[in-house]
Amino acid sequence: MRTPLFLAICLAVAAAVYAAAVGVGNDYVFFAGYVILQYIVLSTAWNILGGYCGYVNFGSAAFFALGAYSTVATYKLIETQELPHVVPLPVLMLIGGVVSGIVGFGMGYLTLRLRGAFFAIATLALAVVLQTLIVNWDFVGGSRGAYVLRPEDLPLIGPYIRYLFLVMLLLAVAALVIARLIERSRLGYGFATIRDDELAAEASGVPTLRLKLIATTISGALMGMAGAPFPYYIGYLQPASTFGLDYAVNSIAMPLIGGTTSWVGPLIGTILLGSLQQIVTVTISSAVNLLVVGVILVAFVILAPNGIIGLVHHYWQRKPEDFVGRRHVETDAPGAVP
């Protein structure tokens, strides 16, 4: 399928989703749907680095929060300068994306030359440090948090939450199109070589460091863009919850459950896990909801390593080359005598 056609289909689906949400007529649909859409962007962004390149990012919450806090900073700046106009949301998202993208680039530059595990640990620690910085930065509210007034209703669209929903819907479409484009381009093949065997890729002339930096930057920027509208959604932004571990665990769990090798995986994983979480949060409690995510994540990585896509491939399209082409030949121990 050509990319313009894919984009058209995505937009058609998005339009249908929006029409259906309006059709329900209850604003709760928009509030719940926004969260799921936001996770589609986060998990797709995570997958560009984690799934395509094989580098695990535990700091999704940090990139997301950076986006959210760039919006707060812009908001406060305008408030203190007493400027009359409100910055349009797409501009805020652009700012959030640029800030997170730059941090992603810097992060990658410092750690990606080392083994993959160091990158994973550094991202974990990055969340702690950024949280410390935000907690100590009074301009954006510090540890007390910051209030952001949601703008008034818009003509044509109605309540502001519908506008937020619409914007996030378009961002989700953009993220999916970008992921699919990467997957089918030279860039995507380069990423795959890094994931499969970085040393061999390097030896055959693949510019691994440059590719990895491109991946961290794109992935970080998308996460920042997903975070930028968040202050308007939540109304009151506070460091402890914005840097919460649930963003980190969800954006890892969703692609791994869906399947990491294709753009469809994070989408499937997010829709399944995201809906399940909404149901569990409403019916039981939000703590149980996090436990469910943890258990499902562990169960999937042990029992279905290639996610739902892997399961589907396994049962419906049992092609012989799938088995011949499998890279990891089982041996009785790593480092066994060949």
Binding site: V56, F58, L110, L124, A125, V288, L291, V301, A333, V337
Partner: protein, 291 residues
């Protein structure tokens, strides 16, 4: 800025004491991440588990937390070998440890933390012991026993670990498994068994580290998260697999954190270890006493 000499001495000293405790917290990671190459980011969660075990036994039976931890060592060892077995069969054997193995430990971290929250709530818990209240005074120097006792016991723990690793057959096999599995197999040693034992020991240290933690400060389930960055910073700075390096790095981080907390305020302290980690990764990835 004018600061008092007493304050400086006390900050450095409390940094050294806290550093001793950090060494115990990191010893397990130096074993699993440094030697076995298993990125066990769930280690802090097991430490919190150790804290809660000490808490339960202490509040119900009144047993000393450190004694409890020593008694619980075999249980944590068995837990560790069990986890390694699952990890080996599901990830190492299939060659998928990098991405899914990491996600597995992240999931474990999450499950442990949320289970503790669901069962105990987010209230801070603490233990009772004779050495928690008093402080020794030497002139202007204060030495709270609450921190001194864990520091001494943890240095003892590391000394024992170091002896085991350098003198016993199993210990030498553990050091060897990191370097050359094939050579180990030629010596008729099963590398998987050695790794299982080593990972068991690494989780067993979490029992003691957990008891130290709850002696030093009140504990709630998410406290462990603060230790992830710190523990790996110490491990990398200490040269990954060297226990003496771990002790030195732990004390360095302890002193720097303590100075930061004293002179800039405690809210800045968490950023210190990350700064160290990035600096180490950028300047000297082999750590202080790296091979």
């Amino acid at each position: 800025m004018i600061f008092s000499f007493d304050l400086l001495i006390n900050a450095v000293l409390s940094g050294i004491l806290i550093g001793g405790f950090y060494a115990a917290v990191t010893a397990g990671v130096s074993l699993s991440f440094g030697i076995l190459d298993i990125v066990n980011i769930a280690h802090p969660a097991f430490i919190i588990l150790g804290s809660y075990v000490a808490y339960i036994v202490n509040t119900t039976l009144g047993v000393d937390p450190i004694l409890t931890a020593v008694i619980m060592l075999p249980a944590f060892y068995v837990l560790g070998t069990g986890i390694y077995q699952v990890y080996y069969v599901s990830f190492e054997k299939r060659g998928q440890e990098s991405l899914r193995g990491l996600a597995f430990f992240f999931g474990l971290l999450f499950i442990t933390e949320v289970s503790l929250v669901l069962y105990f709530g987010v209230d801070y818990r603490y233990v009772e012991a004779s050495y928690i209240g008093p402080t020794w005074h030497f002139g202007t120097i204060d030495m709270p026993l609450r921190i001194l006792v864990p520091c001494v016991v943890s240095l003892l723990l590391i000394a024992v670990l170091q002896l085991v690793l350098s003198k016993t057959f199993i210990g030498r096999a553990i050091m060897a498994v990191a370097q050359d599995q094939l050579a180990l197999r030629l010596m008729a040693v099963d590398p998987i068994r050695i790794k299982r034992i080593a990972f068991g020991i690494s989780i067993a240290t979490a029992s003691l580290a957990g008891a130290f933690l709850i002696i030093i400060q009140p504990v709630e389930p998410s406290v462990g998260r603060d230790y992830i960055g710190r523990v790996f910073a110490i491990c990398v700075l200490g040269g990954m697999s060297s226990l003496p390096g771990t002790v030195i790095a732990a004390m360095m981080i302890g002193i720097v954190e303590s100075l930061t907390a004293t002179f800039y305020g405690p809210s800045w302290a968490p950023a210190v270890s990350f700064g160290f980690l990035l600096l180490t990764l950028a300047v000297r990835p082999a750590g202080l006493l790296g091979r």
